[in-house]
């Protein structure tokens, strides 16, 4: 009987040991993929598991950079863009080596600042839970960076843009600013024309209506503010989005009642000028000078150029 008891006890002991081993191994398995730099998290089942670092990095980069031709080395590609931009400027204006160096330095500063913001976002998100809301948060938090990238890192508010503007003022002929203003005006006109064309198919506009609508849009909307490449849809959408802000009194008279009704429905569902995209609309009023904007430095540069 004692022998039986010993055997029985030994059996239970074996089972318990096995239980402990398997249980420990299952815990390890749950976390052994985690390459977070911090110590392995001994989370209880009630704690929300954390994202793996490389997944966070990949997701954030995917949102911000997409494929977008940037490939694996985003930093390198952005640097190439900067150099290409400086080369472009060198082609169209006579830029000295010293000025090129200054532009490169300023652009590097913008680039570093942007990449630091990307890294900061990654770090912030690494520590949060992984449910759908948090992925939405990644999308939401990454959106301003994505918009900034799309609009160009070297716009007029960037170090690069400011350095360029300075060259327009003192070190470089005013052709710098004038050229950019002409370009901005041309691109804006193209976007207005494209918006009129699209509304023409949606509303069945006559030639007279198109002409009047074009005049209103050129007067009431602003160009996209950027010194670098902006995707075409952003130009066009920026004018369409600003159409919501044009006063009803100016628009209503252009249309037949049935067209106006349809336009109102369309505008209700049109993209709003987003908070993060608002900065993309030209503030310096290069198309039309406004007294309220006299204090803006860029406007001064534009005026200097036009003298």
């Amino acid at each position: 009987m004692t022998g039986h008891k010993t055997c029985e006890r030994r059996g239970w002991l074996f089972a318990a040991t096995l239980l402990a081993i398997v249980s420990a191994s299952s815990n390890v398995r749950a976390w052994d993929d985690d390459d977070l730099s911090e110590p392995k998290v001994k989370a209880s089942r009630n704690e929300t598991p954390r994202l793996r670092a490389q997944d966070v990095d990949r997701a954030v980069e995917n949102v911000i950079f997409g494929d977008n031709g940037l490939g694996s080395s985003h930093e390198q590609k952005l640097r190439e863009r900067l150099r290409a931009r400086i080369q472009q400027l060198s082609r169209s204006h006579s830029v000295s080596n010293e000025q090129e160096g200054k532009l490169l330095l300023a652009g590097e500063g913008d680039l570093r600042r942007f990449l630091d913001r990307v890294e900061e976002l990654k770090g912030r998100i690494r520590s949060v839970s992984r449910d759908q809301i948090e992925w939405n948060r990644i999308l939401r938090d990454a959106q301003p960076l994505q918009t900034q990238l799309r609009a160009g890192l070297f716009d007029r508010n960037s170090l690069f843009g400011k350095t360029l503007a300075k060259m327009g003022g003192s070190e470089q002929p005013a052709s710098f600013v004038r050229t950019e203003t002409d370009r901005s005006r041309f691109q804006h006109r193209a976007a207005v024309n494209m918006t009129v064309l699209r509304l023409s198919t949606a509303l069945g506009l006559s030639d007279e209506q198109r002409t009047r609508l074009k005049a209103v849009l050129l007067e009431e909307t602003r160009p996209v503010r950027s010194l670098s490449v902006v995707p075409t849809d952003l130009y066009s959408n920026s004018v369409y989005a600003q159409l919501r802000l044009v006063s009803e009194a100016k628009l209503k008279t252009l249309f037949e009642p049935w067209q106006w009704q349809a336009l109102r429905i369309k505008l209700a569902s049109a993209p709003k000028p987003r908070e993060d995209a608002r900065g993309l609309i030209e503030e310096a009023a290069t198309i039309r000078e406004r007294p309220a904007l006299r204090r803006i430095g860029m406007r001064r540069a534009v005026l200097r150029a036009s003298r």
């Binding site: 759908q132 990454a142 006109r189 699209r198 006559s206 995707p231």
Partner: protein, 254 residues
Amino acid sequence: VKRIGIHRRPDRKARWCALCVFAALTLSTGLHGAESPEPPPPPEAQLPGQAASTDRKPDNQPARFKGDAETLVQVECLFVKKVSAPTAEQMRAIEAELKACVRDAETGAGPSTCNLLPSRMAERVAKHLSNEQVGRYRAEVKKRMLQECEACVDTAIALLDQKLDLSDSQRNSLAGSFTANWKPAWSQIIELAVQNGQDALPNFPDHLIAPYLKTEQLRVWRRMPKSRSVDDDLPYNVERIGPTGTPVESIKNQ
């Protein structure tokens, strides 16, 4: 326990217990594994700049009308309504005529390319209008084509400008060159590029662009991505008008 005789074979009992525990644990580990923190796939971010490719259909495929034929008919009906003010009876006849025209394009019984379809539609609309209405309608169709050309030429140059850093005089020269030689298919390529946030341009012949570019700009132009569409046989694609250009439901029913 006695009934199954385990008390007589304690080693077996222990093994049996262990087996049960092991099986239970394996099962629970499996379930736990299913709940293990497997992060959801990263969201597929798509910048507009990398959206679907431009129209690259080979020329032996029929026009892409499916699902959008109704939209194309409605776009033309709205235009006729505004510029020719037809009666309700005329409007019904015109709508039926346009539907037949688009159906012919879909089935291959009629023209379906950017070059031919718009003019065929205009012809069929004109059949149901009075002389005075036809005059107004044809004049408006012509002006509409000019506006489409202007919008697309400007957009094409804006796209080129981003890569080539054109001067003001170069932009003007190119605008003149393109406008004088513009092809209807190029409008569709540009409109789709705008819809999809792309920068693929029509493959403009050298004589339209090369005389106005500097050597370095020409080199960049030759490396730029271009649409592979065949200019003369490009099927009409209603997607070119996009969400902004699509009439709203309420206007369609009026």
